[in-house]
């Protein structure tokens, strides 16, 4: 009986190692600074994680399908700049769909290269990171983009509004997470994403159109980026060309922290959300402790490795790796 419960606890740990780690961090931070768990702070963390988080949702699809997307940061800059520019030119009603269309085109282009032409995704998206940055600079002429009438536009609702007392970015993030979570876990498309990432050849042999599936993953990812860009633009109603720079690695870190394997075929939206929140709370927690940013770097390093280690150690039931 005793061994049975022990086993049960073991298997819970194994399945939810990352959640346990998450809980531990929260408790530790709360002891260090009681403000950490205040409603204001929670909202503030989730709100500022929302942009990163929404991008991570899309990237989760890409990673599960066995690919990488390093272009999301610079694509997000692009969406933000475009929607801000068009806001004043054609009004928000048209600007938003126009920006979505342009961003989706970028996603479709990457999807075409990686899916249909079967090019290596790391290099393609690395190339696109640079190319889209160039595109953004050309588009904006390198200038910051600002909305002229900041007080008068309803456009600010996506980034600054609240509904039912909850900030809109949080609602969008969680809503999107729920929808995409269902898509991934329950729909035929989601199943195909796992199959293509798990074993692309076998998926093809099962009649799954691998190229199309990969293509759609990138389109989804770019749609998420467009949403993130929209919130970003709405939040500050103005932006510089580099607003998303460097986010690609943070996004990837969150997805991996959530337990998706870079080899493809595993991961879930729920876990990605946890990964995003862990990163967000770490940053916020350390800031509240008043640590220098470089101490935050070091602590984040340790925490990322510990969290992932704990997670896989629980899965294999052994602390140390079996690698000889």
């Amino acid at each position: 009986m005793a061994t049975l419960t022990k086993q049960k606890i073991g298997s819970v740990l194994a399945k939810q190692g990352i959640l346990v780690a998450f809980a531990l961090f929260i408790i530790a931070f709360t002891f260090a600074n009681p403000k950490f768990l205040s409603v204001d702070n929670l909202f503030s963390v989730i709100r500022s994680s929302a942009i990163l988080g929404i991008m991570a949702l899309g990237v989760t699809f890409v990673v599960i399908s066995g690919n990488l997307d390093l272009s999301v940061g610079s694509m997000m800059s692009f969406s933000t700049i475009v929607v801000l520019d068009l806001h004043d030119k054609i009004g928000p009603f048209l600007a938003i769909p126009a920006m979505f269309a342009m961003t989706l085109c970028l996603g479709a282009f990457i999807g075409f290269l990686v899916g249909y032409l079967k090019l290596n995704s790391l290099i393609v998206t690395l190339g696109m990171l640079s190319a889209i940055h160039g595109l953004t600079l050309t588009y904006s002429g390198g200038k910051n983009m600002d909305i002229a009438d900041k007080e008068g536009t309803w456009f600010s609702v996506f980034g600054q509004g609240t509904a039912l007392g909850i900030p809109v970015p949080i609602l969008i993030f969680l809503g999107l997470a729920a929808v995409l979570g269902l898509v991934l876990a329950r729909t035929p498309f989601g199943r195909k994403v796992y199959a293509v990432g798990g074993n692309g050849t076998a998926a093809t042999f099962s009649g799954i159109r691998r190229a199309r599936t990969v293509f759609l993953c990138y389109v989804m990812s770019s749609a998420c980026v467009a949403v993130a860009g929209l919130i970003q633009a709405s939040r500050s109603l103005g932006s510089q060309n580099t607003v998303g720079q460097g986010l690609e690695l943070e996004v990837l870190a969150a997805v991996i922290l959530g337990g998706a394997s870079l080899m493809g075929g595993s991961g879930t939206i729920f876990k990605t959300v946890i990964g995003v929140l862990i990163l967000g709370f770490i940053q916020n927690g350390l800031l509240l402790l008043g640590l220098q940013f470089y101490v935050q770097f070091v602590v984040t390093w340790v925490i990322i490795i510990l969290a992932v280690w704990l997670d896989i150690a629980a899965k294999r039931g052994k602390l140390w790796s079996p690698i000889a």
């Binding site: 690395l126 190339g127 093809t204 470089y294 990322i304 790796s321």
Partner: protein, 333 residues
């Protein structure tokens, strides 16, 4: 010539073919667009090209073997910065005050040692925890950068030693010091990877880790050695470069990992491991440096440079894909 030999040769030589294309393009375009009276393919300019390829190139050699081994190292940029700080800072430490210019080799050694240790640290973590190298080094990319800032806050660390600068700027037998280092590193690693047991085992591990384990290869130590080597090389790259420049910003080396990986993959190393060569990587490094240099030569502006570099990377992949098509009857997976 056997059937397919030509396409084989093309495949292997794709990156060199691309380099030739770049040379032709920039030479011709340079005639019209460049202010300079000197030709792009001027001998001196080509020597500079090799020299300028060294900082990325030396690290890329290490990345090649780590990637052949089936791992990746994203922390090289930060390791590079740490080694640079140790190199420059240690020359001013009071304990070495009596050494005169003999402090130089000591500083070099310290920097190289530090790089090797950091690399080995990554290796040990990958080995002992079993966490994927991508994640481990993504973490240490941050962590090492944090350590960089701990040295001197946000300020640059500087120590200009003209003896050192003169050494680094010297040209021996026509080649710059940095070029010599790049050449020697390339040769040594080529030898290690093709001729030694460690090199061959590294290939085997990257190719099929399970098979290597089943065959009784001790996977962990090999991986650790390769991580130590890349740490050493990141430090060597810093040592060569900062001997000449004498000051390091805490941000230096950022994004190097991405450029290095790009060069390695352009050079034909498989991202999943098991295949690749340091010679190919040399081609990849030169191709990238040539692109940057050439775009500057013809006066492209910042946004164009970004756009073009990105698209060219993709174009090279498309080209490579075309060369690799086996024929119409190929299995469609």
């Amino acid at each position: 010539m056997q059937p397919g030999a030509l396409s084989d040769a093309l495949k292997k030589g794709a990156i060199w073919g691309f380099i030739v294309l770049e040379l032709i393009f920039f030479s011709v375009a340079g005639e019209y667009l460049s202010l300079s009276d000197n030709a792009f393919m001027d001998y001196e300019n080509m020597l500079l090209l090799l020299k300028q390829s060294a900082p990325i190139g030396i690290i890329a050699m290490g990345m090649t073997i780590v990637m052949i081994n089936g791992n990746i190292d994203l922390s090289v940029g930060a390791t590079y910065a740490i080694a640079a700080i140790i190199l420059l800072d240690s020359m001013t430490w009071p304990i070495f005050a009596g050494l005169g210019d003999w402090v130089i080799p000591v500083a070099w050694l310290l920097a190289l040692l530090a790089g090797t240790m950091l690399g080995a640290l990554n290796g040990i973590i990958v080995w002992k925890t079993g966490v994927d190298a991508f994640i481990v080094t993504l973490g240490s990319m941050l962590g090492f950068r944090g350590i960089v800032f701990m040295f001197n806050g946000e300020n640059p660390t500087s120590h200009l030693n003209w003896t050192l600068v003169d050494f680094a700027e010297a040209q021996v037998l026509g080649l710059h010091t940095a070029t010599w280092f790049l050449a020697i590193v390339t040769l040594v690693l080529w030898y290690v990877m093709t001729r030694t047991v460690h090199g061959r085992n590294a290939y085997a591990i990257g190719d099929n880790r399970e098979a290597a384990v089943n065959a009784g290869i001790r996977v962990g130590p090999h991986m650790m050695i390769n991580f130590a080597i890349i740490g050493f090389l990141a430090a060597l790259s810093a040592v060569v470069f900062y001997s000449e420049s004498g000051s390091v910003n805490p941000n230096d080396g950022q994004l190097y990992e991405l450029w290095v990986i790009t060069a390695v993959v352009l050079g034909g190393t498989k991202i999943t491991g098991g295949a690749g060569s340091v010679i190919g990587t040399l081609g990849g490094v030169i191709a990238i440096q040539l692109l940057r240099k050439g775009l500057g030569h013809i006066g492209a502006d910042t946004s164009t440079v970004n756009l073009v570099i990105g698209l060219i990377l993709i174009a090279v992949l498309v080209l490579d894909r075309q060369l690799n098509v086996k024929g119409k009857e190929e299995l469609k997976v």
